[in-house]
């Protein structure tokens, strides 16, 4: 029952807020349980999802294709990690409880978002996830959080306005907001300026939401300023769902991979890859570095998506498969890195990398898993990130876009450079005397770290199996 994935969090929020004290204590286990349920559900429909799992119900009919199922799985995993981080870092019970409710709402929004097939419903669920995210960022009412939330809110409102304008224009033309109807209508006069304006407006909105250069201004501020649990959820999955997933879905299903769209995706993708990596290189705030790294990695996803309409069918298939795979991988390793950042911040009280150092001795699990995540991000075999980057770069090369392929490889070096600098400044080197008594951050942070690291390694090793059964069919619907 896919609709349960939206209704259960809603019911949970309603139930947990009944004026009964013991219910509050059940909140975190309930949220974890829900995450596990969702993960199991997604895993169960994943194998059947290749052809599209038929679902007979009122709201979500036949929506469980591979792309949606993969996103559902990623949402569940990131939510699990975020709830764990919340448990470890919440300043007091009240804050923790508030944040948990908002997380449940955000997850309900994202679950709906990946399952709807209607432009306007998409907007609604997008807005649910976004509003919950603003509130999660601002929840502590500290200055940084408020600033980040305000910037995010304004840019996000701008983005939704663009999307709504596009929906209005398309409504006037096609008389509907359903993906299928709009896609057919666009097919008839796809090259008319009016419709292209509509598409452009929607793309612009999505590019803001995904934080692609030059639409990205809000992203580093929001990521860096948010409380640990919120930034885990936000960086791990919210922007991936609201921006990147939607972009993939709409470009594939509704707007169609026109030549101009592809070129735009490639240009913005390349710009993001380079600018994100360059900006990350000079950061001293750990979370801000990770935020810029996110921009850079989203650029890779866009590059992969940019060949989705290539004349070389195999390249197109590889590109989309790579984009979706990288989306999933990025959700995993970025979550892992944010969990570790939360552990470091919790144990040392700072995120300034110039003041850290040598923590790998004291926090071996955190150091090791972030090394893994870093290798995965930079694309070191056989971790998951290597394969997805390989797919993307291979697709670019096959499609004849050699320049972009070379750029992708070169930017990998930059990725490695800024992550090595991070690893060196935080985990290696000399341990500062004030951190002599730092210890590992406790199970609530190490368990999700280890889990996510295991997923990274496992997915990387299982690639030969994954690629035939899940990844390549993504393009096939």
């Amino acid at each position: 029952m896919p609709s349960l994935l939206v209704i259960l969090p809603l019911l949970a929020v309603l139930l947990l807020n009944l004026p009964l004290n013991f219910l509050r204590r059940l909140a975190q286990p309930a949220a974890l349980l829900f995450a596990v349920y969702q993960a199991l559900f997604a895993l169960q429909v994943l194998p059947a999802g290749c052809t599209g799992c038929p679902t007979h119900e009122r709201w979500f009919v036949n929506v469980l294709d591979p792309l949606t199922s993969v996103l559902l799985l990623a949402i569940a995993i990131v939510m699990f990690a975020a709830v764990c981080v919340l448990r470890a870092t919440a300043s007091d019970e009240k804050h923790g409880f508030n944040a948990l409710n908002l997380m449940l709402l955000a997850v309900a929004g994202m679950n709906g978002l990946v399952m709807v097939r209607d432009l306007f419903s998409l907007y609604i669920f997008l807005e649910i996830a976004s509003v919950s995210s603003f509130l999660l960022i601002a929840a502590q009412r500290d200055m940084g959080g408020l600033e980040g939330a305000f910037k995010y809110l304004v840019m996000s409102a701008l983005a939704t306005m663009m999307m709504l304008a596009s929906i209005g224009l398309l409504l006037a033309y096609s008389g509907s907001t359903k993906f299928m109807v709009v896609a057919e209508a666009l097919h008839a006069h796809g090259s008319h300026g009016y419709l292209l304006t509509a598409i452009g407006l929607f793309l612009g909105g999505l590019l803001i939401k995904s934080g692609v250069v030059p639409f990205h201004g809000w992203l580093p501020d929001a990521y860096a300023a948010a409380p640990a649990a919120a930034s885990t959820l936000l960086a791990g999955i919210v922007t991936k769902c609201t921006g990147v997933y939607t972009l993939i879905r709409l470009v594939q299903d509704v707007f169609g991979p026109a030549v101009a769209t592809q070129q735009l995706l490639l240009i913005f993708g390349a710009l993001s890859v380079v600018v994100g990596a360059l900006a990350a290189l000079g950061q001293s705030d750990l979370k801000r570095l990770l935020a810029y790294s996110s921009i850079s990695q989203v650029g890779y996803i866009l590059l992969g998506l940019g060949v989705c309409g290539s004349a070389n069918k195999f390249a197109a298939q590889l590109g989309v498969a790579g984009a979706v795979f990288h989306l999933f991988n990025h959700a995993i390793f970025k979550t892992l890195l944010f969990v570790n950042a939360a552990a470091v911040e919790k144990q040392t009280g700072t995120r300034d990398m110039n003041r850290l150092g040598g923590l790998a001795q004291k926090m071996p699990i955190t150091g090791l898993t972030s090394l893994l995540a870093m290798f995965a991000t930079a694309g070191v075999p056989p971790l998951a990130g290597f394969w997805s980057k390989l797919l993307i770069i291979a697709a670019l090369w096959l499609a004849g876009l050699h320049g972009y392929a070379v750029l992708g490889i070169a930017a990998s070096l930059l990725t490695l450079a800024y992550f090595l600098s991070m690893q060196r400044r935080v985990f290696f080197g000399l341990l500062r005397p004030e951190f002599a008594h730092v210890r590992e951050a406790g199970w609530a942070l190490t368990v999700p770290s280890l889990l996510l690291a295991a997923i990274l390694v496992g997915v990387g090793l299982a690639l030969p199996w994954l690629i035939g059964s899940f990844l390549l069919p993504v393009k096939g619907f």
Binding site: V6, I7, L10, V13, L14, R58, W59, N98, N101, L102, L105, A108, G109, G112, V116, D118, F120, S121, I124, F125, E127, I128, V131, S132, F134, L135, A138, A139, R141, Y173, S174, G175, S176, V181, A185, A188, H189, H192, G193, Y194, L195
Partner: protein, 168 residues
Amino acid sequence: MDPNYKIALLENIILMAAMLLGTLATAMLRQFIKAAIALAFTSVVLCILMFKLAAPWAAVFELSVCAGLITVVFISAVSLVRPATEEERAAHVRFKVRRYFLLPVVLLAVGCGLSYMPVRPLPLLATTELVTDMRALLWGPRALDLLGQILVLLAGVWGVVILFKEET
């Protein structure tokens, strides 16, 4: 062209011009309260326009919620922050008008540009399914939107709880 349509169009254009004036007033009025009231005025004109375009439900909603509730939100917000900002506001006034000098130029450029832009004709698609009963639509195919509304409202409630509740 149908003369009735032309008259209706003229009325609509007059209304939209009023709306545009309302937005300009919202943007440029010095006092915030007045700006908020100008926004409410814009909403009222939009409401009339909706009535004319045969959207009574939306019009009622626009009138009650946007013209009413949102104005209240703004006014109460500004009353919450007013005391300390009067001086600052005064300091801004001097160059504030100057900042809006460019707006008429931009508006003129955009308006002219759009009016004289050559656009190929685009045929209207024959709509396949025409649903006229709004309630049937809202409870039928678009029931998902209602679920979404509930979720958004819940998020809003949490927003109020988190942001407005005094720290104890």
